[in-house]
């Protein structure tokens, strides 16, 4: 068991290495000169040239990559070209706000999604089913920025119940953005739960339970719901990565000080060290979540370990 985990852990290293090269190449292949963006459009050439030197942009690319990797090995991600503060500090400032948002969004979207999905399955073909699925299709189709702006208009401007945007550490500030962020995932979860549930309801052990005379409530809860939940759990892991990606839009709409918005800002000014670090971080999240899902599988089903 432990051997399997170790093996899986080591196997992500080459993936991260390839990702680091891709991230570096991708960022440097973008047209646009960071020194120029830093200096401002009305700067003279001397200022731009001075900045280019200072950033080490005048050296050949492979050398820049090696320096970058060497520094990273010692935990130094470089300094933001724009603010001149260490990239690590800049990211840490924004990392937790993004995580709070993603985790809160995930939490309620799982609860709502599974409840709706289960309701749709139990009341299959009745109004509860149609309502849940109508909401779910809407949730998948509605763009997040639009949903976010609409929610702001209703709950913050007209009703005045919640703050519009920004994050200063209050829970009330978390509500609108996390619901907006989780909407798509809740919708996906609902549909997924519905199909998993329906499949389980077709199983023979359900008919057996009913034949035994077990109360319908217990059939649903003990037999159907628990078994339907297993594929749903793995889905949660996969959706989490998606949620982190979606935070780019939601953080912009809600002026959330997270890494998604930071990414957008960094692209705009070609802040290479920040972009590289963020690309690596996002990739790492995906790889790591996949690893976790694999491990949860292995825990649930021992056969997988010997593959």
């Amino acid at each position: 068991m432990i051997k399997y985990f170790l093996k899986r852990l080591i196997s992500i290293l080459p993936v991260l290495f390839v990702v680091s090269i891709l991230a570096f190449a991708f960022v440097h292949l973008l047209p646009g000169d960071p020194a120029r963006m830093m200096a401002g459009t009305d700067a003279d050439e001397a200022t731009v040239e001075m900045l280019r030197k200072e950033m080490g942009m005048d050296r050949p690319l492979p050398i820049q990559y090696l320096t970058y990797m060497k520094n990273m090995a010692t935990g130094d991600l470089g300094k933001s070209l724009r603010t001149k503060l260490p990239v690590y500090d800049e990211i840490m400032l924004r990392y937790w706000p993004t995580m709070y948002l993603a985790i809160t969004g995930m939490a309620w979207s799982v609860v709502i999604g599974v409840l709706f999905g289960a309701a749709a399955a139990v009341y299959n073909g009745r109004w509860q089913d149609y309502t849940a699925m109508l909401l779910s299709v809407s949730g998948i189709s509605v763009p997040q920025f639009w949903l976010g702006l609409l929610a702001i208009q209703l709950f913050a401007v007209h009703l005045g119940w919640l703050p519009v945007a920004g994050y200063t550490g209050k829970f009330s500030e978390l509500i609108l953005p996390s619901f907006t962020l989780g909407a798509t995932v809740a919708a996906v979860m609902a549909r997924f739960t519905l199909s998993a549930f329906l499949e389980v309801l077709d199983e023979e052990y359900i008919s057996t339970a009913r034949a035994k005379g077990v109360a319908e409530f217990l059939v649903m809860w003990k037999h159907a719901f628990r078994n339907a939940l297993i594929p749903v759990v793995t889905m949660v892991g996969l959706q989490f990565g998606f949620l982190l990606g979606g935070s780019v839009v939601v953080e912009t709409v809600f002026a959330w000080p997270g890494i998604g918005r930071y990414m957008i800002e960094a692209v705009g000014v070609r802040d290479y060290p920040v972009l590289q670090a963020l690309l690596l971080l996002y990739s790492f999240h995906f790889v790591f979540i996949n690893l976790l899902v694999d491990m949860v599988y292995a825990l649930i089903n021992p056969e997988i370990r010997y593959e």
Partner: protein
């Protein structure tokens, strides 16, 4: 039961955050602060926050007129090579350090090391000398008539010499100045907060603190203002102006900017080397409809090569929309059948829309071509990558814009149309070169006497307007919005703002 409900209601009201009593202002803007070191700041927004904390020898009022701040007065010689500033006495920095001539020298010497983004402002300076405790002299390498504007620029703000010694370049996180507000807190990527300076030398400051909060999405920004969670927003999105106008709690502020928009043509080569072709472009452009449709009405037609808020501006007669005349000029120049160009533009939706409209309008006189749109960084990369002696340059029309941050005619013309400003040195992306223009620009700098400079720039504007190096478009109108009980925050023509007189009435 009724009583319970009433009690609950009262409790909710008590618990609701109210602004009564406190005088804290929230300023929500599109931009994020990038640095608080004035000498190393290239963006207008950070510069404006710095201006609330620090002051320069000279400064700008809300209409961009130059006013004395830490200096009482100044004198200069006829050749515009020597400037002497008399300093105000008895002013202290926020850390208690006395402001004097030595403090000025320390700051100027720091800028002159050439290591900072605004070092270029002090490029003409040979040396800065302390004459006595309250007098400094700047000796310049060559005549530079616009030097007082460089001194008034937010890049030349004076930091406490003690703070420079303590923090070094980390001063960008701990700015200490002489201004109406003291730096309080900066959370990178989020807000900057400044608080009242109780000992401000000019008098009482009326609010306790101002928080500058970045809200990139314009819909959310307006929503914050409407919900009472911000007091002032900039920019006010032009496309939502109706909503804001209908809200009785809000005021909309409009201010002509110093940002001019124009179409760049590569004038060094055929067909744009021919002045008649360039004039035809100006006759064919329907500026009015571009302003209304692409810019949401938030602009005014350009009436000189520099915007009206720059020093030494002189109004010119507008280029009327006259397709027949444009066609005749094209014919005269030998392009009756027209020619093909490439339209280059940054991909921001308003710029793209303006370029699309120009493309349709110019097609009427036979100038046709595809649009290449790209993000801002790629756009400037493309324009700067041009070589002076490219063998087969493709004629292009690019959507250009410029904000002359010194507020002076020199910086509105020299970097854009002088022969010395070919890229990559400066931003003459159309390679416009004209001996007369160069001479006027040199004459404008040869003296610091306002009369002599005024004449040089008047001649320049009269001449270059007809030469049409650009397809002239318009000057942006800046729009901000605020709650009615906020007074004394002024947007400035360069997109900055003054908060010194901010006041929140009940």
């Amino acid at each position: 039961m009724k009583r319970v409900i009433l009690t609950l209601l009262a409790l909710t009201l008590l618990a609701a955050p109210g602004y009564a009593g406190t005088k804290d202002i929230i300023y929500a803007s599109e931009s994020t602060a990038k640095s608080l070191d004035p000498h190393d700041t290239s963006d207008t927004y950070s510069g404006a926050i710095e201006r609330a904390i620090c002051q320069g020898l000279m400064g700008f009022d809300k209409d961009m007129n130059i006013i004395p701040l830490l200096a009482e007065s100044y004198t200069f010689n006829d050749a515009a090579t020597e400037f002497i500033f008399k300093l105000r006495q008895g002013i202290k920095f926020h850390d208690g350090t006395l402001f004097n001539a030595n403090a000025v020298k320390v700051n100027i010497d720091r800028m002159m090391t050439g290591k900072y983004k605004r070092s270029s402002l002090m490029k003409p300076v040979e040396s800065c000398q302390v004459i006595d405790d309250y007098t400094v002299r700047f000796s310049l390498k060559e005549p530079f008539g616009a030097f007082v504007n460089a001194i008034a620029h937010p890049g030349s703000l004076i930091l406490s010499p003690k703070s420079l010694e303590t923090y070094g370049d980390e001063v960008s996180k701990h700015p200490v100045g002489t201004g109406p507000y003291i730096f309080d807190e900066w959370v990178s990527g989020d807000h900057v907060r400044i608080k009242k300076n109780p000992d401000y030398w000019k008098g009482k400051v009326n609010v306790d603190s101002i928080t500058f909060r970045p809200v990139p999405e314009s819909g959310s920004r307006l929503a914050m203002l409407r919900a009472g969670q911000a007091h002032y927003i900039f920019p006010m999105p032009a496309e939502m102006i109706k909503v804001a106008e209908n809200d009785p709690k809000l005021d909309i502020i409009k201010q002509p900017s110093i940002i001019e928009r124009y179409l760049i043509m590569n004038t060094r080569y055929k067909p744009f080397a021919d002045v008649r072709v360039r004039q035809a472009v100006n006759y064919a452009l329907d500026k009015d409809s571009i302003i209304k449709i692409a810019w949401g009405g938030a602009a005014a037609e350009a009436d000189s090569i520099i915007p009206s808020n720059l020093q030494f501006y002189k109004k010119q007669a507008a280029w009327p929309l006259d397709i027949e005349k444009a066609k005749a000029l094209m014919k005269e120049a030998g392009y009756e059948k027209g020619f093909e160009v490439v339209f280059l533009t940054p991909n921001a939706s308003n710029r793209l829309r303006a370029t699309e409209m120009a493309q349709q309008q110019l097609a009427k006189i036979g100038i046709t071509g595809k649009i290449e749109s790209m993000d801002v960084a790629s756009f400037y990369n493309k324009l700067e990558g041009q070589k002076k002696d490219d063998a087969n340059p493709i004629p292009f029309i690019g959507f250009g814009g410029w904000s002359a941050s010194t507020g002076d005619a020199d910086w509105g013309t020299r970097p854009l149309i002088s022969t010395d400003a070919f890229p990559p040195a400066m931003s003459n992306f159309g390679f416009f070169s004209d001996k007369k223009v160069d001479d006027f620009i040199t004459a404008g700098l040869a003296s610091a006497s306002p009369d002599a400079r005024k004449k040089a720039y008047a001649d320049l504007q009269d001449y270059v307007w007809k030469q049409a190096p650009w397809g002239y478009l318009f000057v942006d109108t800046l729009m901000a919005a605020k709650v009615k009980n906020l007074k004394g925050i002024y947007p400035m023509p360069d997109g900055a703002f003054l908060v010194e007189d901010a006041e929140l009435t009940d």
